[in-house]
């Protein structure tokens, strides 16, 4: 799970305070594992250092919460690239996929296309594994099957999500 890219993505919606970012992150992606404030601010300052975000205005007073962060063009491009590029098809990547879909919907990006690209990547990998299975010995075949079944599970999830994108959009963009 890429915290910096997720935060960048959240920032692309609108300029936000660190506190808002943490709250949204926890609501959509935290799932019982809240993001520590420290990690939020250290990530944000690293992003600012790399020129992906800028601090817009500083409210009077002290403390980190006075800063509002705005995404830069560099940051936006990185989010764009991250979203369009499929994740390497391997097991246990639902969370990444999930984050991408939700963000894409929040940002009004073509989430369905991302899913299609992902499906295609998954299928390409499955074809490779099937080829290994057809050509190789039983051990190879069983290993390939292991991969195939996990990829298939991902694909099922992709299908289900694809079928319910509209509902999900309503949920994440109140």
């Amino acid at each position: 799970m890429s915290v910096p890219l997720t935060l960048l993505g959240l920032l692309e919606r609108e300029p936000s305070h660190g506190y808002d970012l943490k709250r949204d992150y926890d609501a959509f992606f935290g799932r019982g594992k809240p993001l520590p404030f420290g990690q939020v601010y250290s990530t944000l300052s690293r992003l600012a250092r790399d020129g992906k975000v800028v601090i817009s205005d500083v409210a009077p007073g002290s403390g980190p919460d006075r800063k509002r962060y705005i995404i830069t063009d560099v940051g936006a491009t990185e989010v764009e690239q991250w979203l369009t590029q499929p994740v390497d098809p391997e097991p246990h990547l639902q969370t990444v996929l999930f984050a991408k879909v939700v963000l894409a919907l929040m940002l009004d990006r073509p989430a369905a296309e991302y899913l299609d690209t992902q499906r295609s990547a998954h299928l390409r990998r499955m074809r490779e594994l099937t080829e290994i299975k057809r050509a190789g010995n039983l051990v190879d075949a069983l290993l390939a099957d292991h991969g195939l079944y996990h990829l298939e599970a991902d694909l099922r999830w992709i299908e289900m999500t694809g079928a319910r994108l509209d509902a999900l959009r309503k949920e994440v963009r109140p």
Partner: protein, 226 residues
């Protein structure tokens, strides 16, 4: 590689219900193409249009340069009989015929003499691991055996294109994969083009390429990406 069969902007409706809304797909000779999509997406309708079973309301179906959509029913029937092969999900074997007679059926329909047709059909039994089942009736075959017999029937007349509509839909995973393994092996050996309709990714993974049918249109993500 040359394109052997192609659908261009095909539209088709069942009464008021549109099934295809401008579907296009091109299949190269010798290619194994998986047509995927959720149920009701129109993937079976697309297959039926490509195979000349249904005539599109508009759009074109081209096979080997011929305009299938403009042919008369008899011409399309003989096209299906002589140039295409079919494997369906289940229940295509005529129950009163023996397995080997079922396999020989397309040859008999094309007018091949009985002795030759049966000899040719018999050759497929060894090839698909069906030795000794030649005289069984469909009721006496397991699901996997029946589908292998159906596969032999689909390929016995050496068709240019094999249409497989959910060929493993009624089988368990292992049996299904065995059937697919045989299907792909035999098709590659014969150079047969295969159009495989399935909703199962693991089955689609046996193909060279897949297209998605959604809401009556074809998305070919591979092409978008490349």
């Amino acid at each position: 590689m040359s394109i052997v069969i192609e659908a261009r902007d095909v539209e088709f409706s069942f009464g008021q219900t549109p099934a295809l809304r401008g579907a296009s797909v091109a299949v190269e000779a010798g290619e194994i193409l998986a047509v995927m999509g959720p149920s009701g997406s129109g993937k079976s309708t697309l297959l039926h249009c490509l195979a000349g079973i249904l005539v599109p309301d508009s759009g074109e179906i081209l096979f080997d340069g011929a305009r299938v959509h403009a042919m008369a029913e008899t011409a399309r029937s003989s096209l299906r009989r002589d140039r295409f092969g079919f494997v369906f999900q289940f229940g295509q074997l005529v129950p009163e015929l023996t397995a080997v007679e079922n396999v020989a059926l397309p040859l008999l329909l094309s007018g091949v003499h009985r002795t030759q047709a049966l000899a040719k059909a018999r050759a497929w039994f060894a090839r698909l691991g069906l030795d000794g089942l030649e005289q069984r009736r469909s009721g006496e075959l397991s699901g996997g055996q029946a589908q292998r017999v159906a596969l032999a029937r689909g390929l016995v007349a050496e068709p240019q294109v094999l249409f497989a509509d959910e060929p493993t839909g009624a089988l368990d995973s292992l049996t299904g994969e065995q059937v697919m393994d045989l299907l792909v092996g035999a098709a590659r050996e014969q150079g047969t083009t295969v159009i495989l309709v399935t909703h199962e990714p693991r089955i689609a993974a046996y193909a060279d390429r897949e297209v998605m049918v959604r809401d009556g249109r074809v998305n070919a993500p591979d092409r978008i990406a490349s």
